[in-house]
């Protein structure tokens, strides 16, 4: 995507009917480290790759509990994600207060998407630079949604967002038919393997990945640090027994120079150069 004369304001259309600022916001999502989500008949599993700015800093948290029955994983501008997280938590608390019942997942996602859309149609605002994977369990079962800065959202059986997510999506596409009846442990393994596929270097350790599970009779819980070690061991055992997992590597993903695009401060966006170029080129904004 190159600079052009229609990309200064979010409220300016291009002659092809594109809003470039919104598309650029979606690029910011692709800069974030990968987040993966998958659904079975009873549970939703989210897995994220945590990135550290440098050896001295901590790994950036990407998963947040919204309510006992819902959690999110973010990719992109962490600060924007935090704001949305606060909004979602508040809505869930209010819903429980008024209706004495957990908030239906789809309804909240729609509200969040509407919030995104507002920022694409005001000249004094900018679009949110974060994509959410929302995993939750309500009366109609487990759900996984992906929201993006454009204000669109879709429900998914499995999805990956963030840097090199195409590799994860390829893995998920291969295996998604087995997800509905998979056990929770199998789901976590799939999530971690999908995540591992997006690594350009190094491997999954207990410090750089986190998993969360929510489902029927299973309030949202985050598994990280020491708790995720057993799952990584299982992964390693399978690896040693069978083939090594695919480590997908787009040609463009060479340099790892930190991008200053969103003015990342210490706690800022988890950015790296080398976005997910392949297969994302033409009009990424859904125009339905």
């Amino acid at each position: 995507m190159f600079r052009n004369q229609y990309d200064t304001d979010v409220t300016t259309w291009s002659p092809q009917g594109r809003l470039f600022q919104v598309e650029y916001a979606m690029e910011a999502v692709k800069q974030g480290s990968c987040a993966v989500g998958l659904v079975s008949n009873t549970h939703v599993v989210l897995a994220t790759l945590k990135r550290a700015q440098n050896d001295l800093s901590s790994y950036q948290r990407k998963m947040f509990k919204i309510d006992d029955h819902m959690g999110i994983a973010i990719a992109g501008l962490t600060a924007d994600g935090r704001v949305l997280c606060k909004y979602m938590r508040n809505e869930c608390i209010n819903h429980r207060f008024v209706y004495e019942a957990p908030m239906p997942v789809g309804r909240l996602v729609r509200q969040v998407a509407d919030k995104h859309q507002v920022c694409t149609q005001r000249s004094w605002k900018r679009p949110f630079g974060v994509g959410l994977l929302v995993g939750g369990y309500d009366r109609s079962g487990p759900h996984l949604y992906n929201t993006c800065p454009s204000g669109n959202y879709y429900e998914y059986k499995a999805m990956a967002i963030g840097a090199r997510s195409q590799a994860a999506k390829t893995y998920l596409e291969k295996h998604y038919e087995s997800f509905p009846t998979a056990s929770v442990e199998a789901m976590v393994q799939h999530g971690l393997r999908a995540l591992a596929a997006t690594l350009s270097e190094g491997e999954l350790t207990k410090a750089n990945c986190a998993v969360s599970i929510v489902g029927r009779n299973a309030p949202y819980v985050v598994i990280e640090d020491d708790d995720v070690e057993p799952y990584l061991q299982m992964l390693k055992a399978e690896e040693d027994a069978g083939d090594a997992p695919m480590a997908a590597d787009e040609a463009a993903a060479g340099g790892e120079a930190a991008a200053a695009a969103e003015g990342g401060a210490a706690a800022g966006g988890d950015a790296a150069a080398g976005g997910d170029a392949a297969g994302e080129a033409a009009a990424p904004m859904e125009t339905e």
């Binding site: 509990k65 309510d67 938590r89 608390i93 209010n94 429980r96 207060f97």
Partner: protein, 244 residues
């Protein structure tokens, strides 16, 4: 002209709010209703017992035999309220919302002390249209010792070793004072009044207290929910009282 003003005297004008006899009328409707019931909490060295009856009444009738007065905020803190149940429900919903918010923001549950302060502030917020609830906040403090906080309707509170609230409290309190032998609350500095009784004996005392109160207080009866809070969590027992 003269005829129109002749019959009028200021002193003879009817007073505002008075009926035809000149007697001031009071409102016939009250926003409050006392639903009765009693609750009690006892703090021990490493436990806390909280108990409350489950009968909800109005006037001389029973509305239900099974309704809870206890809100479990965390593994280590509960709130029990006697009085107007609708105000209790509203108060407990509010506290629960604040509790969830706290956990999101701080990543850990509220301490008993924190919850006690929150309850006091929440009650005082409605200083000029109070929650008609008589509350107890009880659990384990940060050191693992039993803690009981007792309140009036507008949020004045203090930490004590034991307390009871509700319709049966005047019947129960002297029994507890006698058995738990607390130092006078008037002593300065405040003496630690958590009981040294072992857990099982304290539970028996609590049950006896309710049975006794149930004999004479019409609003105390049906069932008693007994929550026993220890480091291992919260255990629930139920005691049956007379149904009359």
């Amino acid at each position: 002209m003269a005829a129109a003003t002749a019959g009028y005297k200021l002193a003879a004008a009817p007073k505002a709010g008075a009926d035809s006899q000149g007697v001031k009328q009071h409102a016939t409707w009250s926003p409050y209703d006392d639903n009765g019931g009693t609750c009690l909490a006892v703090a021990g060295a490493d436990y806390c017992i909280v108990a409350a009856t489950t009968r909800m009444s109005t006037g001389y009738s029973i509305l239900t035999r099974r309704s809870t007065k206890i809100l479990q905020l965390t593994d280590k803190c509960v709130i029990a309220s006697a009085g107007c149940q609708v105000d209790m429900k509203a108060l407990q919903k509010l506290l629960q919302s604040r509790n969830v918010m706290f956990q999101h923001n701080h990543g850990k549950p509220m301490s008993c002390k924190g919850a006690a302060q929150l309850l006091s502030n929440t009650l005082y917020y409605k200083r000029f249209f109070p929650y008609y609830t008589f509350n107890l906040c009880a659990g384990l403090d940060e050191e693992g010792k039993g803690a009981v906080y007792t309140y009036d309707a507008i949020g004045s509170y203090e930490r004590t070793g034991y307390s009871c609230q509700g319709s049966g409290k005047d019947l129960m309190q002297p029994v507890l004072d006698n058995q738990l032998k607390a130092a006078s609350p008037l002593l300065v500095p405040a003496r630690n009044s958590t009981t040294t009784l072992p857990l099982e004996q304290a539970i028996d005392l609590v049950k006896d207290a309710f049975v006794s109160a149930g004999e004479r207080d019409i609003y105390t009866g049906d069932y008693v929910e007994v929550l026993i809070i220890t480091q291992d969590g919260i255990r629930r027992e139920e005691l049956q009282l007379k149904l009359d």
